[in-house]
């Protein structure tokens, strides 16, 4: 019995820290509709400031850090809101998600630059060291301090929100922003305040948790996903919800760990999925807020280019032509590595194409697409190891499995929209990510190896590694044969998807993206169309994952990591969503820069993150819109073009 009580206290300790992180996240969302991915990094920054402040002052240093670190992080948070997020108000919340995702890359690298990669620790004050006896067992005094401090801070915020004028304006702003503005209140100033205070509370959480566990650059990444779960469980925008959700998740995590370890890492995500399905507004959320991220703002999709249709055809043919001749220059002009890296780009391009189907055409922000990619990769590997080495069979199965799971996930998820859809796909992806670690047959953390893929079927064929061709002076290595297969698959997939998007199905999808309500009134089955797009997209992502597994010869759990889904969205937006070729181009640029930068600059994520933030703020339609962007500003002068809406519209 005392063990259970002790475990409950353990759960409350971590739960209170979750409350501090989630409270800011939730209120920021409630007031500004901003889902702040960088909240975890601000939390980590609090812990790092504490290291620098606590060390030189010894014992009292901790108390100093507990006051000063949140203040510093609060100022940084306010500056982030003022200079990066403010230009984005009024746009689809996706752009704020993306911007804060860029900030994650930048802040994480700044932390490494200033404090190094090594894990560090600082101790709480000596007065809180050791343990005390309560109800006949001893318990850590510092843990009890965390619980008391966290609850007191949460209580103070609760009081501030409910009993002060500032709190009143914030609550009013959360319910109806326009009304508050009409009353003559400058809501923008309150936005900065809310963001700053939210960041400061997270930093306070970072300081107290830093004294309890160790401080490492990964601590920001590791809290952000549970924080999202809490915010969704409690209800986006609800402070009460964040408190209840935080404590609940803390206790559930701790109890599952001790009593049902098999479900560890799964149960909170399953709970989140269940809550989203039954009561999307969360346990304490105001149903009105579910509108947020719905359809009042649309995504900025690529708006065609500055080239005419025939010019574009020529560009397309040139790109395919260039891809076809790349292998011919190996060992003469450049090393075979160019073929390897272009193969990677082609696989990512296919994956990005699959995302654009739902993101650019149906307006569904999926933050869990790595799930389909990973399923495809695992299915392919398992098929080749246990069933047949045939590449054809393995890839077909990969597509089928990914499409079936996409149907199930789509069936359950498409009833919620906007941010909620993003969160539910993220939750499903996390479930699969955690599942592969649990079983020996999925290779656990080590992954799956040891297949010998073959071109052919039913045992008749040639091993992928053995098929090389030579004709006269030209010889094509086995890696190059596989490369050509990738080119063919990527080009065919592009043409197929393009064809589908020109057909009535694609037009309906686009109308749904523009206005869900109007499409429904006209008589289209919105849910069915979205789901079909999702299944198609899932299947295509599965194919990309399968090709990855064959190309690399192994698959490991990192293919399912949420950062991969995040990077994919980054690629798509960087290129220009809603154009099909834009995200493919984005994938190419991203992989190329990553490869190039990571060789020369240790802080390459910071560079890439900064470029990405600039894109989100200034060129949200992506690389494909740079031409029109320059033209509109008179920087380039093109007189002979026809302006079409998009490549597909003019067919």
């Amino acid at each position: 019995m005392s063990l259970l009580f002790e475990q409950l206290l353990n759960g409350l300790t971590i739960g209170v820290v979750y409350v501090l992180i989630a409270a800011g996240l939730s209120v920021i969302f409630g007031v500004m509709d901003v889902i702040n991915f960088s909240h975890g990094e601000l939390f980590a920054l609090g812990a790092y400031f504490a290291i620098s402040l606590a060390a030189p002052f010894g014992g009292p240093g901790f108390w100093l850090a507990l006051v000063v670190a949140p203040l510093l992080v609060g100022i940084i948070g306010a500056a982030i809101e003022r200079f990066t997020i403010r230009p984005l108000y009024g746009r689809n919340p996706l752009y704020q998600i993306l911007l804060t995702f860029g900030l994650v890359l930048v802040i994480a690298d700044i932390i490494v630059l200033l404090w190094g990669r090594q894990q560090q620790q600082f101790s709480g004050p000596p007065s809180l060291a050791g343990s005390i006896q309560i109800f006949g067992f001893s318990y850590s005094l510092y843990n009890l301090f965390i619980i008391t401090f966290g609850l007191a801070l949460a209580g103070a915020i609760w009081y501030g929100l409910n009993n002060t004028r500032v709190g009143l304006v914030i609550r009013a702003g959360a319910q109806d922003r326009e009304m508050v503005q009409n009353l003559g209140i400058e809501i923008d100033r309150y936005y900065t305040l809310v963001f700053g205070v939210g960041s400061a509370i997270a930093a306070a959480g970072g300081v107290v948790l830093g004294g309890y566990q160790s401080v490492s650059p990964a601590m920001g990444h590791s809290v952000i996903i549970p924080a999202f779960v809490i915010v969704v469980l409690g209800g986006l925008g609800s402070f009460r919800g964040a408190v209840a959700g935080g404590l609940l998740v803390g206790v559930i995590q701790t109890l599952t760990r001790s009593y049902v370890p098999l479900l560890e890492g799964l149960v909170v995500f399953l709970l989140m999925i269940a809550v989203l399905l039954v009561k999307p507004s969360g346990l304490f959320g105001d149903p009105e807020w579910q509108e947020a991220g719905g359809e009042h703002t649309t995504l900025s999709t690529g708006s065609g280019g500055i080239l005419s249709k025939s010019q574009r055809l020529r560009v397309g043919a040139t790109v395919v032509g260039a891809l076809l001749v790349i292998p011919l220059g190996t060992n003469v002009l450049y090393s075979p590595y160019i073929v390897s890296i272009t193969s990677d780009i082609l696989i990512w391009a296919l994956f990005a194409l699959s995302l654009d189907l739902v993101l650019g055409y149906a307006g569904l922000v999926s933050l869990g697409h790595a799930m389909f990619y990973g399923l495809g990769a695992y299915t392919t590997m398992l098929t080749m190891i246990h069933l047949t080495p045939s590449v054809l069979v393995a890839l077909v199965l990969a597509i089928i499995v990914a499409a079936i799971i996409a149907w199930v996930v789509g069936y359950l998820s498409i009833r919620v929209s906007g941010i909620y859809f993003a969160m539910i796909t993220l939750a499903f992806a996390q479930v699969f990510y955690n599942l592969v670690y649990k079983f020996e047959w999925t290779g656990s953390s080590q992954g799956l190896y040891g297949a010998t893929p073959m071109y052919g079927i039913a045992g008749i064929g040639v091993a992928v590694g053995d098929l090389s061709l030579s004709a006269g002076p030209i010889s094509i290595s086995s890696a190059e044969v596989f490369y050509y297969l990738l080119v063919v698959i990527a080009v065919c997939s592009f043409l197929l998807v393009r064809r589908i998007m020109v057909a009535p199905f694609g037009s309906v999808l686009k109308s749904i993206r523009e206005s869900q309500k109007r499409s429904r009134f006209v008589g289209y089955n919105v849910t069915a169309h979205k789901r079909n797009a999702f299944v198609l997209s899932g299947g295509l992502a599965g194919l990309a994952g399968g090709l990855y597994a064959i190309s690399n010869g192994f698959v490991s759990p990192d293919v399912l990591h949420w950062l991969r889904s995040g990077e994919l969205v980054v690629m798509a937006v960087l290129g220009g969503i809603g154009t099909l070729y834009g995200p493919m181009l984005g994938a190419g640029v991203f992989i190329f820069f990553e490869d190039l930068l990571s060789t020369y600059i240790e802080q390459w994520r910071m560079v890439l993150g900064t470029i990405f933030i600039l894109f989100v703020i200034y060129i949200p339609r992506g690389i494909v819109s740079i031409g029109p962007y320059l033209r509109d500003r008179g920087i380039i002068d093109i007189t002979e073009q026809k302006f079409e809406r998009s490549e597909i519209d003019d067919d």
Binding site: E6, I14, Q118, Q119, S140, T254, G447, G553, S556
Partner: protein, 362 residues
């Protein structure tokens, strides 16, 4: 150089740089080493991609690196495919066990070697009631099986009163600590590495576990762990893969080079990086051919010098026969991080499992 093993990767790289410096300065070798470094981000897919780049674009014939065992295994098969010589830095038994091949040579000490030296010592010297807590991935599982086997092989009758597992990268261990505290355990073996171990021990010390239960872990005496834990590490026990005080001329040379270049003392990862270069370079010199195909045939079983003195990559699985110590973390004379007191030693031959028990066919 990034991800969960980034700190250890930096130390490993320092060892590589010193090893290269030694070879390139020396007259004993007829060749020089031209090295390129890449960052695996501790991810398997990136490790594989970077390996591909090094071999295909930079024309490298020899590869070494990776602290991550999963990444080391992925490059094991890549090395075989590309026919290049590979010296992995991962510590999982599998790398020179079921995942071995003739192109992979490990200079690093693996977790099975530590278990053979440390496992039987625990019940004889600490207690017979134990708990095993490990992270749910290959390294943690390795520790669970190998320590169970080795402790049971000792004369003292050991009883494992409980086992628990946490996820890799977990940050909150309070529930396991409460379970262990409420059990009959006299000692706990932690199959956790890096950050997981640091966080566990810190929380265990805060919760007062150290007063009733002795904390042991194969990596408990590692420099990075001791530095991060400060005084909290005092009184814990660990396996020791390397000690800067080892009395061999090669080690003195290595430590001097290290101190000159980086200040402070080298750790086990820097040692592994250094020996990976030096031991392999002697193989190349002996083969009288820099081609990896010749070297991989002559290197197994060849007697080479290492920081530990004379050493060999065993013929049956290409594993270096490194000695292992048992150590206790004790308060340092200068305060701050603990120092290691060596308590017992197993020679390279004793610490390594006999070839008949190795699941590798070359």
């Amino acid at each position: 150089m990034e991800g969960p093993y980034s700190g250890l990767g930096s130390n490993q790289r320092e060892g590589y740089e010193l090893g290269i410096q030694k070879i390139n300065e020396s007259d004993e070798f007829d060749f020089t080493i031209d090295a390129t470094f890449e960052n695996t981000k501790s991810e398997v897919s990136t490790a594989r991609q970077k390996a591909q780049k090094l071999v295909q674009q930079d024309d490298k014939d020899y590869l070494s690196g990776c602290v991550s065992s999963a990444a080391s295994l992925a490059i094991n098969s890549f090395a075989q495919e590309q026919e290049i010589l590979w010296v992995p830095g991962g510590g999982a038994i599998q790398i020179t066990g079921s995942g071995c091949n003739e192109w992979s040579f490990r200079a690093e000490t693996h977790s099975g070697q530590i278990a053979r030296a440390f496992g039987p010592w625990i019940p004889k010297n600490i207690g017979t009631q134990g708990w095993i807590h490990y992270a749910d991935y290959s390294y943690g599982k390795d520790i669970n099986t190998s320590f169970t086997e080795q402790m049971q092989a000792s004369d003292a009758s050991v009883n494992i009163v409980g086992r628990s597992t946490s996820q890799l990268g977990a940050t909150n261990f309070s529930s396991y600590i409460s379970q262990i505290e409420n059990s009959e355990a006299e000692f706990v073996v932690l199959g956790l590495a890096g950050g997981d171990l640091i966080t566990f021990v810190k929380q265990a010390v805060d919760a007062g576990l150290k007063e009733t239960v002795t904390i042991t872990s194969p990596t408990m005496c590692m420099q990075a762990i001791r530095n991060a834990l400060g005084e909290a590490a005092n009184g814990t026990y660990g396996g020791v893969r390397y000690d800067p005080k080892i009395d061999t001329p090669a080690n003195q040379d290595f430590v001097e080079r290290y101190q000159e270049e980086y200040d402070g003392n080298p750790d086990a990862f820097a040692r592994a990086g250094f020996d990976a270069i030096w031991m392999t370079a002697q193989g190349i010199q002996e083969a009288d051919d820099t081609g990896p195909a010749t070297v991989k045939d002559s290197l197994p079983g060849q007697e080479v010098s290492s920081v530990f003195g004379s050493n060999t990559y065993r013929e049956c699985n290409n594993q270096a026969t490194n000695p292992v110590w048992v150590g206790r973390n004790v308060p340092s004379d200068q305060g701050g991080s603990s120092s290691v007191e060596l308590l017992s030693q197993k020679s390279g031959q004793e610490a390594v499992a006999p070839c008949s028990e190795v699941n590798c066919s070359l």
